[in-house]
């Protein structure tokens, strides 16, 4: 082993026990094992995500292909053979004859996709602007924070409606269905980034004056490098916590938007659209159209929230 000194930045190849082993008996995983809430909610979330991803193979029917629907199957109760066609559906069918169980799986796919993408978009936008505002300060900070004020004025619902109007005005109809999903993501994301920005800005202001940042500046690291490699890791834990909570809220926001008629397209209902349709049948006796999607949404959002809660306590060293 030649003993020329290693360049300061080169990663030091230290032969250590497998990374997995290290992760497995780290404190983080230790507290995870011991907290029943975390284990249960994590498994529920993963089951649901898997079910959503493999929906086409699991679901007995394809609810999104209008051709395959038989309208006469509409409103059949769970497990009871339909009066006209004799088909049996585990969780019954909705007004279009769509099997509620398969539509929940497909719907969850859209809800999770929209939720996750919206939160990711909000996180990236919020964190970058937060870092910029906190680190650079001065005019940039004021401008970003005032933009945040403007953004807070527009609640998610409003942003979605306006963007929908604009998007519908522009895109030709055959792309409209795909467009609807992306508009939803944009709308929910746009109204979420503010909280990321605020938290990151606050944390950056604190980290900025710390010695290790001044040290990094001393050895000539460029500002973006400092922000990304030094400040960001220390700011990540609150961001992660907000991300989990926002994921649950984003899924709910999509449901609320569809209640106002601005959600996913009618031929591809998301979980939220299903609940909106189901809400219409609350008094008419077809309880299953509302009950099952609502329970699914509740469990999904509850587990994501519980996971987020546990994550916040686990990641927050001082609280342990």
């Amino acid at each position: 082993m030649t003993d020329t000194p290693l360049p300061p930045d080169a990663p030091i190849e230290v032969k250590d026990p497998s990374r997995l082993r290290l992760a497995l008996d780290s404190d983080f995983f230790y507290t995870f094992k011991r907290s029943p809430v975390a284990v249960v909610s994590f498994s529920v979330v993963s089951i649901m995500v898997l079910a959503a991803v493999f929906a086409p193979w699991i679901a007995p029917h394809d609810p999104f292909n209008p051709g395959s629907l038989n309208l006469m199957n509409g409103f059949s109760a769970p497990m009871e053979p339909n009066a006209f066609t004799g088909d049996i559906f585990w969780l019954g069918t909705d007004d279009q004859g769509r099997d509620v169980f398969s539509t929940i799986l497909y719907g969850m796919r859209i809800s999770l996709f929209v939720g996750a993408a919206a939160v990711a978009f909000a996180m990236v936008l919020g964190v970058t602007l937060g870092l910029l505002a906190g680190y650079v300060g001065g005019w940039t900070e004021t401008i970003i924070m005032r933009i945040a004020d403007v953004q807070l004025t527009f609640p998610a619902i409003l942003v979605a409606m306006l963007i929908f109007g604009v998007a519908k005005g522009i895109t030709p109809v055959e792309y409209r269905d795909q467009m609807a999903i992306w508009v939803l993501i944009l709308a929910i994301g746009l109204s979420d980034w503010v909280q990321f920005a605020r938290v990151v800005r606050g944390a950056t202001l604190v980290e900025k004056n710390k010695e290790y940042v001044q040290a990094a500046r001393l050895i000539g690291r460029t500002s973006p490098a400092i922000m990304l490699r030094h400040i960001l890791p220390n700011v990540l834990s609150p961001v992660l916590v907000i991300a989990t909570i926002s994921l649950a809220l984003a899924i709910i926001a999509e449901a609320t938007l569809s209640f106002l008629g601005v959600g996913a397209p009618p031929t591809q209902p998301s979980l939220g659209t299903l609940i909106r349709i189901g809400q219409g049948f609350l008094f008419s006796g077809e309880w299953w159209i509302l009950l099952f999607p609502a329970v699914t949404l509740l469990t999904l959002a509850l587990s994501v929230n519980l996971l987020g809660d546990w994550l916040r306590d686990a990641l927050n060293p001082r609280l342990r």
Binding site: P66, L71, D95, Q96, V173, G261, P266, L282, S284, G285
Partner: protein, 520 residues
Amino acid sequence: MRRHLFAAVLLCAPAAHAAEFTWSETTDPQTMDPHAVNSTPVLGFLGNVYEGLVRRDEDMKIVPALATGWEPIGEGEGWRFSLRQGVKFHDGSDFDATDVLFSYERASSEQADTSSWFAPVSGVRMVDNYTVEIMTNAPNPIFVDSIANWMMLDSGWAKANDATRPDKDAGNYATLNTNGTGPFRVTRREPGLRTVLEPFDGWWDDATHNITRAELTPIQNPATAVAALLSGDVDFINPVPIQDTERLKQNPDVNVIQGIEARVIMLGFPHEAATLKYSAETMDKNPFADVRVRQAVGHAINVPAILQTIMRGNAQEVSQLVGPGMRGYSTGLAERPAYDTDRARALLAEAGYSDGFSFGFKCTNDRYLNDESVCQAVTGMLAQVGLRATLDAMPVQNYWPELRADNYDMYLLGWSPGTFDAEHPIRFLAATPNEEKKLGSWNFGGYSNARVDELLPMIQSEIDDTKRQGMLDEVTAILQDQAAYTTLYVQPLIWGTRANIELTQRPDNFFNLRWVTVDQ
């Protein structure tokens, strides 16, 4: 002993003594001015406050109101009306011919939304204080029908409050206040919140209702409206969501009143378009211009299935532009094209589209009853015969501009005839669009047929009923053979009331308080 006495007293109280009545609809009437907006919610509500020369009875027949009688002048150059004497407006002033003249000038003015009713009118003359002559530029047998909703305003009151013309832009005194001759006065108006009516004791007709106070509060969310009816917060809701009809019928303290509305739901085609706008297969011709393709659409849609599930058996199939029970309905042509997917595929193959084609299908999602669900069902059925539709359902305020700009390959349309006569839809939907003659203004597809255009004026001026009906049947037959529109069904009209309420329902969805009785 005391308890019995108390019970006894209650029993002998009059069966239906005076009562308060609350009802809700999805939309609040925009204005109190009877000439400002020509829409069912507004005219339906104001029908309780203002009155016209004539009015419709419980079976939609025209009966005298402020006019006691009328007869044609000469060979149909116009109509002479003799007015009712001793009629008072709510503020006590008298009703006479000057008010009719004034109401004609106001209702036919440029600012009024009801000016189209007076297109056939050449002039109005006052013979004496209680006789009026309305001259028409051509014999017009259904003129009296078409002015049932033309309501009389008091010229004195309008001039005093500077409301001689309806004001759509900034609104005026008549937008918020009323002074009619009708059975009820508006005592409180909070737009969008609540409107309160109280009986007008000086009414010329005898009141058969027993209401002391009536309040209309709009409820937008259907589920909340049903909850309000079930919990007794309101006595009557219009409409009852279709899916809730079964459940409400089983509920002892709620009644469901079902009938058919005048609105016909149909699918429209781009007759004069050169190519399709939203087709994935780039084609240089417009398949819907070929009658066989349009007939294939008619055969591909299983209307009975739609009525059975989405409409819960509450609607009626229809084969022409007006529903049964309307004047001029062709009873002989009541057959719709049978649901026959093989026939549909054969027709498509015949027309050269054996493996079908894709196209854009535009729909509303908040205008007609369950419109979005029906469109989804239609999309599914058409897909089974190879007609691959991309459904685009949107709120109604975005819908009309899209249709006017021809941004569709097929569209959903609902039409309710203003005059409850078969001539009305022909004038607006089937006549070749013509701006000056105000024809075919809603004929987006640009359907045009020389014979139909030739027959329309003759129908409008034909006094003899049987001859008029013959011509109407001929037009209906042409439209059916050409499959100009694929008519689906007539919308149901479902009202829900508390068990202790009796009222009368009419196909025009006008709600008359004067026919309501509440027994405590």
